[in-house]
Chain length 216, copies 2
DNA sequence: ATAAAACTAGACCAAATGGTCAACTTAATT
DNA sequence: AATTAAGTTGACCATTTGGTCTAGTTTTAT
């Protein structure tokens, strides 16, 4: 008889919560926090507005829940790479993963972009600390490669920023890319872009592109 | 006696309009279109709200005016480069200019970023056509360099996207960069980042970095 | 000087919106 | 079967906000 002191949710609740979260991710990505109406989320979820507020006490609360859900997706194999690994392999794989993320979860990327452009007012406390620590570790890794002369670049921070920038660009600025190319980027185009980017970054760091990542 | 059929603005009007536009750029960059209150713009401009609406008939109108003003800043020497020019010189200069823009007008960059993330609903018609044409021309330029074997990259579109992505990142994601580095990027840091980026991109395309752009 | 136009600004309004309430229905537990 | 908790929903409310109206003040042109 496990029983929380607060309200307990049944099956229906768990399912609805997820439906609402997905709908909310859509809407927040499209309109930002201020621009999103609870009613829109409700409509997309196929539920009355009151119902959304029943599960998530307020709009802010709902937004936090969306952010939290997205943060779990941030992991990658790059997190566990060490200074003994081959930078070419590690970076190529990291870029591949980030590009895959932009392809499959562009909205998650956009929500973060909006949040950061607005000064990241909600990415404080634990979130912030976590990210800072991650960055510190990855900068140290790249720096160790630099020290070992395994990689030819002058600043670990900037290299990482440039990789993110390029990968996220495909998600965040998809609308512009579609306009400028006259067509949406599908999986095929993403693969080409990924190989093009890997080539650019690795060569730019004096690395040889591993055979498996070479453009066909 | 030149006289428009519509209202004509005096000196006070011209000055106020500019004050309001600057204030609006600030606010829109910070909160997006929906998130910005006319009252906020008025407060920042030091004028009553009614006054803002007197000069710009509506919030939408004000937003368009801000967009239009920003678009004039988009020009660069890259626009006039030809296939006879040296790609290394041209690209290095283009990157330098774009980075300078991110440093001096980050808010202009952010307004565009917000607009595009939202699907660029207001960058239609003339704006869109203009941009598409610009892109077409620049892609042709890069392609001609590729054909002449002056530059080693497999796709002109993607190369341009990657350059933009990196440069804009410093404006759009400044809040994140500040958090992760523990300090804001000033002119000195921008110079380092610029050189780092130039090195990355040029080497990534098999180009030699011109002496004047080499990191010290 | 004076008339017309440009500008200022407080009062006000209708619509939109986040959120509450109370009554009701369905699901879960014993 | 009965009781309790979870979930549903329409009616409603207070506040915010884009925008109007009107009446007055300052600039500008003649």
């Amino acid at each position: 008889m496990t029983q929380n002191k607060t309200t307990k949710e049944g099956r229906v609740g768990a399912a609805n919560k997820q439906i609402i979260l997905t709908a909310a991710e859509h809407e927040f990505a499209k309109n930002g926090f201020k621009g999103t109406r609870i009613q829109q989320v409700a409509d997309r979820a196929g539920l009355p507005k009151t119902n959304v507020l029943y599960y998530f006490k307020s709009k802010e609360n709902l937004y936090f829940a969306v952010l939290e859900q997205i943060l779990d997706l941030w992991n990658s194999t790059f997190d566990k790479a060490t200074s003994d690994d081959d930078p070419a392999e590690v970076l190529a794989r990291y870029i591949t993963e980030k590009m895959e993320f932009s392809l499959t979860r562009p909205e998650a990327s956009r929500i973060f972009a909006l949040e950061i452009i607005n000064g990241a007012p909600n990415l404080t406390g634990f979130f912030k600390e976590q990210q800072v620590n991650w960055m510190k570790g990855r900068v140290e890794l790249v720096q160790s490669w630099i020290d070992q002369k395994k990689i030819d670049t002058d600043n670990a921070h900037y290299l990482l920023f440039h990789i993110w920038a390029c990968c996220q660009h495909y998600a965040d600025f998809a609308a512009q890319i579609t306009q400028l190319q006259g067509q949406e980027m599908g999986r095929v185009e993403y693969q080409k872009a990924t190989k093009s980017l890997i080539s650019l970054i690795l060569k730019g760091c004096g690395l040889k592109v591993p055979a498996s990542y070479l453009a066909s």
